[in-house]
């Protein structure tokens, strides 16, 4: 249960981030998640890049290299159409998970 769920959660966070901000590099995604969750969620950086690579291979993200302000170039990620669909699906299953857990908790 553990691995898949966590992986699913990370996917959801990344996809949501890129829905909120059209193009972002990996570090930016980490910062955004941290900020948006009010410092509650700290992404394990060790698992971020493998996840990004995997999502790109699955066709949910697209990436391109952008040279930024004369410094070294960075890789920016964008959501694809398939990615949007995946986001919707992930949000729905997250909703269901919430409902289920809540029901469990309020069971007398």
């Amino acid at each position: 249960m553990a691995r898949n769920d966590l992986q699913g959660t990370l996917d959801l966070l990344v996809l949501k981030t890129l829905a909120q901000i059209p193009a972002l590099h990996g570090y930016g995604i980490v910062l955004h998640i941290q900020r948006a969750s009010r410092d509650i969620l700290q992404v394990e950086e060790g698992s971020l890049y493998p996840a990004l690579h995997r999502m790109e291979l699955s066709g949910w993200l697209s990436s391109e290299w952008v040279a930024s302000e004369g410094k070294r170039r960075a890789r920016f990620y964008k959501l694809t159409v398939a990615g949007r669909k995946q986001l919707a699906a992930a949000e729905e299953s997250w909703e269901q998970l919430m409902v289920g857990v809540q029901a469990m908790r309020s069971f007398a």
Binding site: Y27, E45, G46, L57, R73, A74
Partner: protein
């Protein structure tokens, strides 16, 4: 889409790798610069970023690992590592590859033979759409009658079929005597040929090697007889001389012009897989078989049919064609008032052998494959043991790799790759082995066929050249064996317990027991398999020996046979003249004529027997009997136990008298006197019934099948008009070889055109009957010869390994007072224990095999292969078990002796 992206990532992996590095580096820098902004010192900033991030190298690998779901890159790395490992241990690699080469090679050879017989299409033009006609009868008759039709039947099908284009007919092999142009009768030769329809060559063969094929004009009865030679015959007889075209060959007094030679690769249309010497148009049939003109006979089934399906759409057209042919066959049957209706027609893919869809053929092939596969299994057991031994020595290496972070799955994959590499190397060498063995097989088969004088020296031909199927099979076998022998060691050793293995040698007693259980199991298995093969071979060879010594009930070694229908236009007078001349010779003890000499099969006629109290028994098919001249019994030395034989006067007027065998009398008229009983026979197979009265009873014999006494047998006298198709049986006195020569000379003087080839019954038909058990026995013997050394080597290896592992323990024992002899006995006892278990299992398996062979090798029309061999034949079972046990003992003794020579002090110091 996903796949494409993955493949693209793989293809560009070095670029991808550098990009990942760049991206990670960028992340670190951004984090560091943020840290700087937060107020840390440069060094701190970088360090904190690093700490938070983790090991970049490990991270990079993890990112790359997402790609490795494809697995190719690591597979490549594994392969390289495996190959290096093989080179590092040349000894083990060599032994493993050789063992595998042997096991896989034998299997590949067998498959190549099976491929050549049953899977490869006929070596003719456009073999793909070519089919062979086979019909199925209501009575369930199987064999030749299913494939043969009469010539008028063929013409009927040819005119009416729409589904099959190009319906071709080819006859059986006809044996004739020919005299080359300009030569005398002294240099005449025996030839085997086929008569074929006019579309035979245009449809099946490419361009002629020399000359041309038949023209339509030449296929008429009034045209000049012509023949086309086969390439091997052309080489043999005319040394490939192109001027042979146009020359004539005189057959039965008729001159045949040689008009062409078939191409080199054309070896005929198979079934039987023999290359004819020549082909002639069907119209010439009467010249080749005088006295037996069947071209116009609607009921004489003499030709097999080949056809082409009309379009390229394979299966739907085939079933349509089969349905149409069934309809035609039934219509034909009706027009001929045939009682045995055709219930189905199949159009089988034309292969060389013909009856490859028959159940018995498939059963035999499956059985043979299983047995040969056993050899491979024994080889695999050897290899597993070897890998287990090597694995124990690599414990260190594996433990280190696990400590460095390799997952079990990864290690498993790498170990499996190593054994797969070994398997593939073994398979490649196995291909070489099978290449050489196939040549050998072909030579043996060729010699076998030529030694069967009855077949007149036709050339046997199978194409054993490896095609893609053989390669695919070998590849499959190599991979399968690799997995088979590699799986268990790989599973065991990838599970290495890290810390204890990292420690230096020492106590591994705990792990040892489970490993040695496997080892013992393998040894027991090998021994059991070898014992099984050995005993099976022994049983078969014993059966052969017994069948060689059985008494057939008539004389065979001194009786020679010669077919009278090889003479030109034989007349009754001629026959009688020949027989009288022979009888007058001092070397000849008796001469008789027979339509179906012993060993030539069943009669195929119907009989109605007046049994007990007037009840009639209708016996159909598979009838055993013979039409003979009166002196048959004296010539063949078949004693009459009751009554008399028929006289020559009775024979001349075709009287209705008969002699039956004792078991016939017992079966139909039990407890009564058979003399005077009556029965009716349809001798000419045209629904004319002749009545016969029993005048004598002969002793039982084994005419049809050497291993069984004929259940029913009758002898009826030969009326003069039947002489044309009969065989002369000549019993000689004195030295058979000399007397035979004298007979040949006499025959030549009487009729120079006869040119007989005198073969004794023993060498001819009897030998043919024993052929199957001879071949099976020799084949099984060969397999046993392969299996026993393999098992021996395996046991040797295991014991040698055991001794090397327990050197320390042996040293301790000796230091504590054990004698060298005691140590030897200990080792031997422990190593022979699995052997004993294996012996038990092998024994049980052999008993099962014995009962299976006894039950299933009773093939129709063929002598029982295990004739006279009792269920638990003591000679075979005991003798061979002891032999194999001795082999195992020797294999254990040699390395065990090394144990005796262990110096206790050195062993104790060994760490």
């Amino acid at each position: 889409m996903k796949i494409i992206r993955r493949v693209w990532a793989f293809v560009n992996r070095s670029r991808v790798e550098s990009e990942i590095e760049e991206e990670l580096q960028c992340h670190l820098e951004m984090r560091a610069s943020d840290n700087l902004d937060d107020g840390m010192s440069p060094a701190q900033a970088v360090r904190e970023a690093r700490l938070r991030f983790g090991n970049p190298a490990a991270m990079k690998e993890r990112v790359q690992a997402v790609d490795f779901a494809l697995g190719l890159e690591s597979l490549w790395a594994d392969l390289r590592y495996a190959l290096r490992g093989c080179l590092r241990n040349p000894g083990i690699t060599l032994v493993a590859v050789l063992t595998l080469a042997l096991g896989i090679g034998v299997n590949t050879t067998f498959f190549a033979a099976f491929d050549g017989i049953a899977l490869k299409p006929l070596p003719v033009k456009d073999a793909q759409g070519l089919v062979r006609f086979e019909q199925w009868f209501q009575s369930g008759t199987t064999g030749d009658p299913q494939f043969l039709v009469s010539w008028p039947e063929y013409l009927y099908y040819r005119t009416h079929t729409r589904a099959l284009s190009d319906l071709i007919a080819a006859s059986r092999l006809i044996s004739v005597v020919g005299i080359p142009e300009g030569a005398t009768t002294a240099s005449s030769i025996t030839l085997q040929g086929q008569v074929v329809s006019d579309n035979y060559f245009p449809s099946l063969a490419g361009n002629a090697a020399a000359g041309r094929y038949f023209l339509p004009e030449e296929s008429k009865p009034e045209s000049v007889p012509a023949m086309v030679l086969s390439y091997p015959f052309w080489q043999r007889q005319f040394q490939g001389d192109p001027t042979a075209i146009g020359k004539t060959l005189k057959v039965n007094g008729q001159a045949f012009t040689i008009i062409g030679v078939a191409p080199k690769e054309f070896i005929g249309s198979g079934a039987p897989p023999l290359v004819p010497d020549f082909w002639a148009p069907a119209a010439m049939q009467a010249y080749l078989e005088p006295g037996h003109a069947w071209l116009e006979q609607p009921k004489d089934a003499q030709v097999q049919l080949l056809g082409r399906l009309n379009s390229t759409r394979a299966d739907s057209t085939r079933s349509q064609a089969e349905a149409e042919m069934l309809l035609l066959a039934q219509q034909w049957g009706q027009s001929q008032q045939r009682t045995d209706k055709t219930i189905a027609v199949t159009l089988n893919r034309a292969t060389f052998f013909g009856e490859t869809n028959a159940l018995w053929f498939r059963g035999v092939v499956a059985m043979l494959m299983g047995v040969i596969g056993l050899i491979l299994l024994i080889a695999c057991a050897n290899l597993t043991n070897m890998l287990m031994a090597r694995g124990t020595m690599r414990r260190h290496e594996i433990a280190v790799r696990r400590a460095l972070g390799a997952t079990r799955k990864r290690l498993l994959r790498q170990l499996l790759t190593e054994s797969l590499v070994l398997g593939l190397l073994g398979g490649a060498c196995g291909l070489l082995v099978s290449y050489w063995a196939s040549h050998l097989l072909q030579v043996i088969l060729q010699q076998l066929v030529q030694s069967l004088a009855v077949l007149g020296g036709a050339a046997f031909s199978i194409n054993l050249a490896p095609d893609f199927r053989v390669f695919a099979y070998t590849l499959f076998l190599s991979l399968l064996t690799g997995v088979l022998f590699g799986m268990v060691p790989a599973l065991r050793f990838s599970k290495s317990d890290g810390t204890s293995a990292l420690k230096v040698e020492g106590a591994t007693a705990g792990q040892q027991t489970s490993r040695s259980r496997l080892r013992n199991l393998l040894v027991a298995g090998q021994f059991a398999a070898s014992l099984f093969l050995l005993i099976s071979a022994g049983l078969l060879l014993q059966g052969l020996r017994r069948s060689l010594s059985v008494d057939p009930g008539f004389e065979t070694k001194r009786v020679f046979f010669v077919g009278l229908n090889t003479g030109p236009q034989p007349s009754v007078e001629k026959q009688r003249q020949i027989m009288d001349e022979l009888r007058a010779m001092p070397e000849v003890a008796g001469v008789a004529a027979s339509i179906k000499p012993p060993g030539t099969g069943t009669f195929g006629r119907q009989a109605i027997i007046e049994g007990d109290k007037g009840a009639e028994v209708n016996v159909q098919g598979g009838l055993l009997g013979d039409i003979v001249s009166p002196d048959y019994f004296q010539t063949m030395q078949v004693p009459i136990v009751r009554g008399r034989i028929f006289t020559s006067q009775e024979a001349e007027r075709g009287a209705g008298v008969a002699v039956v065998s004792a078991s016939t009398a017992r079966q139909f008229w039990p407890g009564q006197d058979p003399l005077g009983k009556r029965f009716r026979l349809d001798l000419k197979a045209n629904n004319t019934w002749q009545e016969f009265e029993v005048v004598g009873v002969a002793r039982d014999a084994r005419n049809a099948n050497l291993t069984r006494i004929d259940p029913v047998f009758f002898y009826v006298p030969e009326p003069p008009d039947q002489f044309a198709g009969s065989t002369l049986l000549i019993r000689v006195k004195g030295d058979p070889a000399n007397s035979a020569r004298a007979v040949v000379d006499a025959l030549n003087t009487v009729d120079p055109k006869l040119q007989p080839n005198l073969v004794s019954l023993e060498d001819g038909h009897m030998r043919l009957q024993r052929l199957l058990s001879q071949m099976l026995g020799e084949f099984a013997g060969l397999l046993a010869c392969l299996a026993v050394p393999l098992a021996g080597v395996g046991i040797y290896g295991v014991v040698a390994y055991l001794v090397s592992q327990r050197t320390r323990e042996i040293g301790i024992r000796m230091a504590l007072g054990a004698t060298r002899g005691g140590v030897l006995r200990l080792i031997l006892r422990q190593s022979m224990r699995p052997v004993a278990i294996g012996a038990g299992i092998g024994f049980v398996l052999s008993i099962a095999a014995s009962s299976a062979l006894h039950a299933f090798l009773v093939l129709p029309g063929v002598p029982d292969v295990l004739f006279g061999v009792s269920f638990l034949d003591p000679e075979v079972f005991l003798g061979l078990s002891l032999f194999l046990a001795a082999v195992a003992l020797t294999a254990s003794y040699i390395p065990a002796r090394r144990a005796m020579r262990v110096d206790p002090m050195a062993a104790l110091r060994y760490e």
